[in-house]
């Protein structure tokens, strides 16, 4: 198609519309304050000193002062606060995991565990993973992404085998539209983080519902990376063929729609 070929005349009409003008001053101030907070968080994270430009962002009357540093005039760093909360949550989850892991592993090592339909069984007792208390143990195949001997932190399957076997990972950082595949890939290829999640997509049934809504056969093995997207719970579902779906954690509960789709090569 020739770009200039526009029999409707709409293009000329759109081109003729007046420009909205420069960014409003109040928005400029708002974004500069946000960026200053980001710089502060960045400097804090690196243990370095703030450079003059970052420190020079003077607070405005409509800015919220940091109650933890009264008198400093600093912007509340919501991102850093969220990170702190997230770290606290992870720490709490780790405590829960340890509490669940010890008796679970103890039971597993004392009893004969039969694979519930999965072709691949755990390679050795050293490969025993965290098991959701509400789910039966299934074979913990680690081949969802062709990761060879890499070990999934969690293997879940429904008793009837109607839902996929799920390998669960936790993303180290939030998903973004431009980088969610990288975040998911890093989570999958990195050192697995043992843990459980309250996320609906951390369960075999939840993943099955989501996949069904997406039009994907539920009878598959799926790798799930749970994390956050734009402040809300989200997960990346990776199928054995590398197809990947970034979905909200309500996927399958309140409809099924992918935020984005892509590929994460096996």
């Amino acid at each position: 198609m020739d770009e200039a070929d526009d029999p409707t005349g709409v293009r000329a009409l759109l081109t003729s519309l007046p420009d909205p003008g420069p960014m409003p001053d109040d928005l400029v101030a708002r974004i500069e304050a946000s960026l200053a907070a980001e710089r502060t968080a960045r400097a804090d994270a690196s243990g370095g000193e703030l450079r003059p430009a970052a420190a020079a962002a003077a607070p405005r009357p409509d800015e919220v002062l940091d109650e933890h540093r009264p008198g400093t005039g600093r912007i509340v760093d919501l991102a850093a606060r969220r990170r702190r909360v997230r770290l606290a949550g992870l720490a709490a989850a780790a405590v829960v995991v340890v509490g669940l892991a010890i008796p679970t592993i103890s039971r597993l090592t004392q009893a004969t565990v039969t694979s519930a339909g999965s072709a691949a069984a755990p390679a050795s007792s050293g490969d025993l993973k965290m098991v959701q208390p509400s789910d039966q143990v299934a074979g913990a195949s680690s081949q969802a992404l062709g990761t060879g001997d890499s070990v999934a932190p969690s293997a879940i399957a429904s008793p009837e085998g109607m839902n996929p076997s799920v390998h669960l990972y936790t993303a180290a950082e939030g998903f973004t539209l431009s980088g969610w595949t990288s975040v998911a890939r890093a989570a999958i290829s990195g050192v697995p983080e043992d843990g459980t999640s309250a996320d609906p997509l951390a369960t075999s049934a939840g993943v099955g519902r989501c996949l069904a809504g997406l039009g994907v056969s539920p009878l598959q093995q799926v790798t799930v990376v749970v994390g956050r997207y734009d402040g809300s719970g989200a997960a990346v579902l990776v199928l054995p063929d590398g197809s990947a779906y970034l979905v909200p954690d309500r996927c399958g509960v309140a409809g099924s729609e992918a935020i984005a789709t892509g590929r994460i090569a096996p």
Binding site: E3, L13, T15, P18, A53, L177, D230, I259, A260
Partner: protein
């Protein structure tokens, strides 16, 4: 001419390396354009403000993912447009269409009326068509660059522009639309995913989007 003589790419590299000044200069250089694109894409000043703020914060945090395959401007456009589309996608079904800004500086009455008509018609387009039209028609972004920004094939951009123009022509009562085609459909320019609705009811005040049906990465 800005006070900082470094190129955008140099500023981005400096930011990644820890230069506290660099990203602020990038913001100063690109803020007006990004604001305009966001406002045109979402059609609402408050939402556009949120989008462009989120986008710049995202760009600040994710600067290390910029590989230099495209220009910094293109990359920033991508972040802004993606943020806008994401916000539009997640807008609750009960949200009403944004109220039009009744007047802009420099508008004559006739110009203002045309602008309001066009903006109202634009608001009824599928989000992905509107984003393509904003880039290609309003801001003369080349199709190839728009494809990079929108992370779709060039043919998809062309298709969306063509359908979007057709839809606007229909909504504005202009002649020249291609007969026999539903311009408000996004079908045909990407593979559907799941059961997400991919069609919008133009008479509804419930704008929906089909943009989640796309392969983005």
């Amino acid at each position: 001419m800005t006070a900082d003589g470094r190129s955008d790419a140099e500023l981005m590299a400096a930011h990644v390396a820890g230069d506290a000044e660099a990203f602020g200069e990038l913001f100063r250089r690109h803020r007006d354009r990004m604001w305009a694109v966001a406002l045109r894409t979402v059609g609402d000043r408050d939402l556009a403000a949120d989008c462009v703020q989120d986008a710049f914060v995202t760009a600040f945090r994710r600067a290390e993912t910029f590989r230099g395959d495209a220009s910094v401007s293109t990359w920033l456009h991508r972040v802004v447009v993606n943020t806008c589309l994401d916000r539009l996608r997640r807008r609750r079904p009960t949200d009403e269409l944004p109220a039009a800004d009744p007047a802009a500086p420099g508008d004559s009455f006739a110009t203002a009326q045309v602008r309001l008509d066009v903006e109202a018609a634009l608001a009824q387009l599928p989000d992905t068509q509107r984003a393509a039209l904003v880039l290609v028609d309003m801001y003369a972004v080349p199709v190839a660059e728009a494809a990079t920004i929108l992370q779709v094939a060039e043919g998809t951009v062309k298709s969306r522009c063509s359908r979007g123009r057709d839809a606007l022509a229909q909504l504005l009562g202009l002649p020249g639309r291609v007969p026999g085609r539903d311009p408000l459909s996004d079908r045909g320019d990407h593979a559907p995913v799941g059961n997400h609705p991919d069609r919008r009811n133009v008479s509804s005040t419930n704008p929906q989007t089909s943009s989640s049906n796309e392969r983005r990465s």
